[in-house]
Amino acid sequence: MTEQNAEETAELPSFDSAALERLKRFGGGKLLGEMIALFLESAPERISSARTGVTDDDAKTAEMALHSLKSSSAQLGAMRMYRLCEQGETLSRTGQLDIVSLLVSDIEQEYPRVQLWLEAARTESTS
């Protein structure tokens, strides 16, 4: 990731709570809680699969993992995670795995923040 890209990404909001409200509208606190649980269950596997893809020079594996994580992140409003995955997916498709590797590092650092945010949202929606 270039410095300019990093700055642009950092300036945009990390989280969009409207996405969580939307899920509640679709299916109440129950759906929101289940969607969060599925995300927290699958995201670490997808991040690790993206890392394996980069390490093994397997762009397709990295692309699929980042695509799935992108989609789930967007639906839950984890916007910074979404943008990092989107960049990683696009660059995997063009085989630029050296840059994807840096993005996966950013994703690995972003994940604990997303986890905290979603766990707080889940507690709030069930209390």
Binding site: F26, S42, H67, Q75
Partner: protein
């Protein structure tokens, strides 16, 4: 109740679609292309929601097979995709999808209206 087949590998997306379609459609879920093609042939729905990015056989290939099969080819099929790039819509429609909905789903009425429209057209015999 009209019947819809959802082909989607991600559990969170299946759960979300279930919630949106609950009470409106009778939903059958498939997680991959092989199961979907076998299931659709055995138990024809009124409409298919087809994810593009699937492991193994992707949505484009599944659609090609649906359109090549005499029993399935008239099915209305809506593409669901998180690849939202300009020109994608035209690309998917040209490939033979009836409609195209992007993920994340923000406004469920876009999906529901498209489903209703294509099921009505199909019932009028306007497809195929």
């Amino acid at each position: 109740m009209k019947r819809v087949a959802v082909v989607e590998d991600n559990a969170d997306n299946r759960l979300l679609l279930q919630a949106i379609l609950d009470g409106l459609y009778d939903v059958t879920e498939y997680e991959n292309g092989i199961d979907a093609l076998a299931g659709l042939a055995a138990d024809l729905p009124d409409l298919v929601l087809l994810d593009i990015s699937l492991p193994g056989m992707d949505g484009n290939e599944i659609l090609t097979r649906i359109r090549a099969d005499d029993a399935l080819r008239r099915l209305p099929v809506i593409a669901l995709t998180a690849h939202a790039m300009s020109g994608d819509r035209e690309k998917y429609l040209a490939h033979g999808f009836n409609d195209y909905i992007t993920k994340p789903i923000v406004d469920e009425s876009l999906l529901l209206n498209a489903m209703e429209r294509w099921i009505a057209k199909s019932a009028d015999g306007a497809l195929g």
